[in-house]
């Protein structure tokens, strides 16, 4: 689509029109009248987080914490990096950026089922039938969106899905799910002119308010808030951020001509317009069979290129100190190699990558034993990771959310920032 702007009318002008009363004598439509006109301004020093989600559970023992010489070691060799640690030989590009990135090698998370693990790692809480906890992206959205008045697009974007839900924080903080191709469906109101949209919304407001006032709980009000966001989005020039194809071809090439690469590039563009949390999904890690071939031929080269390109790109734009990059899945995989040359689910000792955002780079935090089955240092929970991210993003750790039933819940489940990364 193209920006919804009549040729001779700038955005501010349009908004004024929309906000003014229409041909019908219906009160001015209130969604649109508070919008900030300085929307296009890029805030360079705004904090953000990119979560690279490796859905299925990556074999981190073949990526970040290799065990050469162990029976569990597998086929890959470790290589030296620009940082003070070794990683897999199949991630040579990341290795060059490792001075800015670190690895936590002592994750111990106890949830080895996909659904439960995905929930736990995204929310820092174990699943509970009486409350739905928000994904951390929704927490960031909830905390930072009020401070980013000029942001007209959703503050939690999920590229490729799988990012969980906003839980008790409400639909306005739900991840906005997009494809990495940059086509946002149904954003263009197909030639409907602005007057007409305004009229429709005014009529809609009458119908909607009637239902909201008919005592049906808080869902109708939430629906109205979602519509406000959707209308903002439809009329925003920030939608350009989704158009990866407008980027310099050289940069596109650096990120990789695949969905993941485009997703990572889109993440950078979204950060530039002020989106504080972007999750990029790279699936296909549930490697019960044939783990080494799949990793070396498919998964790792894609991941390597995307993460290295984003790190490099952010660095060269002076943004890396403001953007935390976290790369993890719902759990790790068994140190032991199974009968099908695969690795199964394993949550008790695994690694994730975290860097940028002013965190210490180039280090390995924590360690596992020589076979990778046990942890020989302090271990960490998802709450500790999200507390670290909060710290890096300037989100206070004393925030307590209250579920709709009045149940208080600490941010990041009361986790503690990981000392070695923040000191």
């Amino acid at each position: 689509m193209s920006i919804i702007q009549p040729e001779n009318m700038d955005r501010r002008h349009f908004m004024r029109h929309v906000a003014a009363s229409s041909a019908m004598t219906i009160p001015a439509f209130h969604f649109l009248n508070h919008l900030n006109a300085n929307a296009a301004e890029v805030r360079k020093n705004q904090k953000a987080c990119v979560l690279v989600w490796l859905g299925g559970g990556p074999p981190t023992i073949d990526m970040w914490d290799l065990k050469p010489g162990s029976k569990n070691g597998g086929e890959f060799k470790p290589i030296s990096t620009a940082g003070d640690l070794q990683i897999s030989e199949h991630m040579p590009k990341i290795a060059k950026q490792m001075d800015s990135l670190s690895v936590v090698r002592s994750m111990s998370t106890r949830e080895a089922d996909h659904t439960r693990g995905r929930y736990y790692m995204h929310t820092a809480y174990v699943p509970n039938p009486t409350v739905i906890h928000p994904s951390f992206g929704s927490v960031v959205s909830h905390t930072l969106a009020p401070q980013r008045k000029s942001l007209e697009i959703p503050s939690f974007v999920s590229i490729g899905g799988g990012a969980g839900s906003a839980g008790f924080l409400g639909m306005t903080h739900a991840p906005f799910v997009v494809d990495s191709n940059g086509q946002i469906r149904n954003v263009d109101s197909d030639g409907t002119d602005k007057r007409r949209l305004e009229q429709r919304l005014a009529m809609w407001d009458v119908v909607e308010s009637g239902f909201i006032n008919s005592d049906r709980g808080d869902l109708p009000q939430a629906h109205k808030d979602v519509y406000r966001k959707a209308v903002n989005l439809m009329t925003s020039s920030q939608m350009e951020a989704f158009k990866v194809a407008k980027e310099d071809p050289k940069i596109q090439e650096a990120y990789g001509n695949n969905n993941f690469g485009r997703g990572m590039l889109m993440a950078r563009r979204l950060i530039e317009v002020g989106v504080p949390f972007i999750e990029v999904n790279l699936g296909g890690w549930d490697l019960h069979n044939d783990v080494f071939n799949t990793l070396s031929n498919q998964r790792l080269p894609t991941l390597d290129q995307g993460i290295a390109a984003l790190t490099q790109d952010l660095k060269s734009r002076g943004m890396l100190d403001d953007v935390v990059i976290v790369c993890m899945g719902e759990f790790g995989r068994t140190p032991r190699i199974n009968q099908n040359v695969g690795r199964d689910h394993w949550a008790s000792s695994w690694s994730l990558m975290i860097g940028g955002g002013g965190l210490n780079g180039g280090i390995a935090v924590g360690q596992t034993d020589k076979d990778g089955v046990g942890i020989e240092s302090q271990s960490y929970l998802p709450g500790d990771v999200w507390a670290t991210v909060s710290k890096a993003m300037g989100i206070p750790l004393n925030i307590v959310h209250t579920s709709k039933r009045g149940r208080p819940m600490k941010i990041a489940n009361g986790g503690t920032p990981i000392e070695e990364l923040i000191s």
Binding site: M24, I26, G55, G56, R110, A112, D113, H114, T115, R116, R118, V126, P129, T130, P154, S158, G161, G162, M171, F176, R185, N186, D188, D190, R196, Q199, R200, M203, W204, V206, V207, E208, G210, F211, S214, D215, R216, G217, L219, P220, H223, V226, A230, V231, L233, M234, G283, G284, D286, T334, R336, N338, W346, V400, S403, K404, R405, G406, R407, T416
Partner: protein, 728 residues
């Protein structure tokens, strides 16, 4: 913090020991110490228990061979100790300081909170009873799987629970250990427990204790039972029912639930103008027997059985055709289960085969989990591969069920290259156990075994046929319970358990007797799907309005309270229901019946934009539709809505513009068409405003155009209302 961390790690190690049965007295003392010292440790321990209580189910299914293990004869002090530990954990979790900030201490809220806390307390107690039983290593009264004997099983839990409550010294106020944090004794969970299994179902005089539900054969008996049991629950929860839904609200609901779409204006009027006293029943009967029901029901179950985006070997439409036929000829659900479990052949021809074809990847692990979860209503997938000895038992059980699928294989048929690939679901002539390895690489063998029953193990006998027989035998098998619970939840928005597919002693039903009555009656009438729908749709709770009243504001399962069904809860329209409802608005239903497969294909295409697969071995996926910005954008700008609101594409709208009735009436009819109700006062005022804006237009042609455009805008406004995308 480091200290805390060490504490928590140690705590988890000790908790592991409990589960292993390795907790000696010294370790138990240490554990007790840790929990008493530190509130957060107690919380961690409580969380640990919460997690593992999901596997309490497996605990109940303890195979008899393990009981002879060399482990100890546990002693009474150990029991008491375990009890103390568990209760302390439960208590301290509930009195962490933040909990005291519970806002708005209205009586209803407190009693609601009490319900929840009591539920979790009950859970801890249940669990504690379980652990106790285990540490004692007393022979199980019935070595069979409990899940196949549900008539007895809840009683077992109840009595254990009661016993523990009586014996438990910590529950008594005056005997609380002094070092525990101060407890607010006015806190409702400790005073009353409205949500235990026995209290909810009220009067003890009602039924003999041994029999939970009744298998009725008369429809009215079942309906009466629903009405009685649900209203007893209202008393127990101290809520009042909302008033009856008006005829408009009820008709829209029953169309959405049974026909999968809103009623057209004509259909609505037919019902409203029917002067028969039996008109509700007539409408339900008519809808259940209509092709629309077969379409709606088969759509829902196709999604539940294989998801919206299964692997390429699955012929989704073939499965839906099979289910459509089941609904049309009202074949019994047990038949469907048998046919799907034992299915063979080409999935394009044998629709029933698609269920397994969708899930036979990865050593049939997803098949095992889906059979358990979707057909039997319990969650077993965690047990596939847990490293913990506690889970090792259930791991064995998991693989015993899995072993039934050992012979099953999907092969590709050799064909000329240009032909589309064809697959076959077959049984290989193999026998013997399935092998699986524990986390530490020890290989184990699992023979097919279900409900304690071993089956014929030779190459010629189909294991799946034997499983099909086992699953569908008995007067209240799990497949009946799971189906009843799910159907109830489809019609009310919530099942008797939350989540709906997680039955078991760890997750007690809100209305156990009613649940049992429904599932037993369902079995007694040979798993008659349509009768089950009829019972529920003609019940009084189903007829209630969705409008809250002050006296049932706290009945809010969306916020975690147990569902009392004191009003109709919201159900979001599925993408399929939305699609079909838009077609109803455009009056495009005429050729649906003959050409439904074409319709389904087009609809699936549209729905696919909202689905993403998780790409893991569990074959699960997510739908990002409900209430999201993406959904709002679809309704505001999507092609489908655009077609619906255009006079050149929506014939109904076109006709309405030129019809010789007043403008006011035309606006009213838009409202009726989309929301199946009369306009509210504010909407009438809006209509007058719109009319006023047309008043000064002189040219009839221009006026007609303007009117068309206003009607179109109004239609847009109604379609975008939250009322439209909710079944309420």
């Amino acid at each position: 913090m480091n200290d805390l961390h060490t504490h928590h790690r140690r705590l988890c190690e000790l908790a592991d020991c409990i589960c292993d049965g390795r907790l000696d007295e010294a370790a138990a003392v240490e554990l007790q110490q840790l929990i008493k010292e530190d509130e957060s440790a107690a919380e961690v321990f409580a969380q640990y228990l919460e997690l593992h209580s999901n596997l309490f189910w497996d605990l109940g299914t303890f195979p008899s061979d393990v009981q002879s293990s060399s482990q100890q004869d546990s002693t009474a002090p150990m029991q008491a100790l375990m009890d103390d530990l568990l209760t302390e954990a439960a208590l301290s979790q509930h009195v962490i300081p933040e909990d005291k900030r519970l806002v708005k201490p209205a009586r209803r809220l407190l009693s609601g909170t009490g319900a929840i806390l009591a539920t979790s307390l009950a859970l801890f107690l249940t669990f504690s009873a379980g652990i106790l039983w285990w540490t004692q290593y007393s022979p199980a009264p019935n070595p069979n799987f409990v899940e196949n004997n549900p008539a007895v099983e809840p009683q077992v839990i109840e009595s254990q629970e009661e016993k523990r409550t009586e014996e438990n010294p910590v529950l008594a106020e005056n005997e609380l250990p002094p070092e525990l944090p101060k407890i607010d004794w006015d806190h409702p969970p400790l005073k009353s427990q409205p949500v235990t299994v026995n209290v909810v179902e009220g009067s003890p005089t009602q039924k003999p204790a041994e029999v939970l539900g009744v298998a009725y054969s008369n429809d009215q008996d079942v309906i009466n039972s629903i009405n009685e049991r649900i209203s007893m629950g209202w008393k127990d929860w101290q809520v009042q029912p909302s008033p009856k839904a008006d005829d408009y609200e009820w008709a829209r609901r029953v169309y959405l639930d049974l026909a999968g779409r809103i009623p057209t204006e004509a259909e609505l009027n037919t019902y409203l103008n029917n002067s028969s006293e039996q008109r509700d029943q007539e409408l339900v009967d008519q809808l259940i027997e209509s092709p629309a029901f077969a379409l709606q029901w088969s759509t829902t179950w196709t999604r539940l059985l294989v998801g919206r985006a299964p692997n390429e070997r699955v012929d989704r439409l073939s499965l839906q055709k099979y289910l459509h036929e089941v609904a049309e000829s009202n074949r019994s659900w047990s038949n469907v289960v048998e046919e799907m479990i034992a299915a063979k052949g080409n999935p394009q021809q044998n629709g029933a085969a698609n269920f397994l074809v969708a899930h036979l990847n990865n050593q049939a692990v997803p098949a095992t989990a889906f059979v358990a979860k979707t057909l039997m209503g319990y969650q077993i997938q965690c047990a596939q591969c847990h490293h913990h000895p506690f889970y090792a038992l259930s791991q064995k059980e998991f693989w015993e069920l899995n072993s039934f699928f050992k012979q099953a294989v999907v092969t590709q048929v050799d064909q000329p290259q240009e032909a589309a690939p064809t697959y076959l679901l077959q049984d290989r002539p193999t026998a013997g156990p399935t092998y699986y390895e524990t986390r530490f690489g020890v290989m184990h063998a699992a023979f097919p075994k279900y409900n304690g029953q071993e089956v014929v193990d030779d190459e010629k006998t189909s294991r799946r046929e034997q499983l099909a027989g086992l699953l569908t035998s008995g007067d209240d098998p799990l497949i009946a319970q799971a189906f009843v619970n799910r159907t109830w939840s489809m019609l009310f928005g919530y099942g008797f358990t939350q989540p709906v597919d997680d039955l078991g002693p760890h997750n007690p039903a809100t209305h156990p007797e009613l649940f049992s009555t429904l599932s037993r009656s369902f079995v007694a009438c040979d798993y008659d799907i349509k009768r089950l729908y009829r019972w529920i749709c003609l019940s009084e709770p189903y007829r209630l309005s969705s409008q809250m009243i002050a006296e049932n504001r706290e009945d809010n399962p969306a916020q975690g309270t147990p569902a009392a069904f004191s009003r109709m809860y919201f159900k979001s329209l599925s993408p399929e229901q939305l699609y079909d409802s838009l077609q109803a608005v455009a009056g495009e239903l005429d050729d649906r019946n003959q050409q439904w497969p074409l319709h389904v294909t087009e609809r699936d295409q549209w729905v696919s934009q909202f689905v993403s697969s998780y790409e893991n071995d569990e074959n699960d996926e997510e739908n990002h539709f409900d209430g999201t910005i993406s959904q709002a954008l679809v309704l505001m700008n999507g092609d489908l809505v655009d077609q619906t609101i255009r006079t050149d594409q929506n014939d109904l709208l076109k006709d309405l513009v030129s019809e010789s009735i007043s403008d006011q009436k035309k606006f009213e009819r838009i409202c009726l068409t989309v929301l199946s109700r009369k306009p509210r006062h504010q909407e009438m005022a809006l209509f007058r405003q719109i009319q006023a804006s047309l008043r000064d237009v002189k040219s009839p042609a221009v006026r007609q155009d303007l009117l068309a455009s206003r009607l179109s805008d109004l239609l847009w406004a109604y379609l975008n209302s939250s009322e439209f995308i909710i079944n309420h």
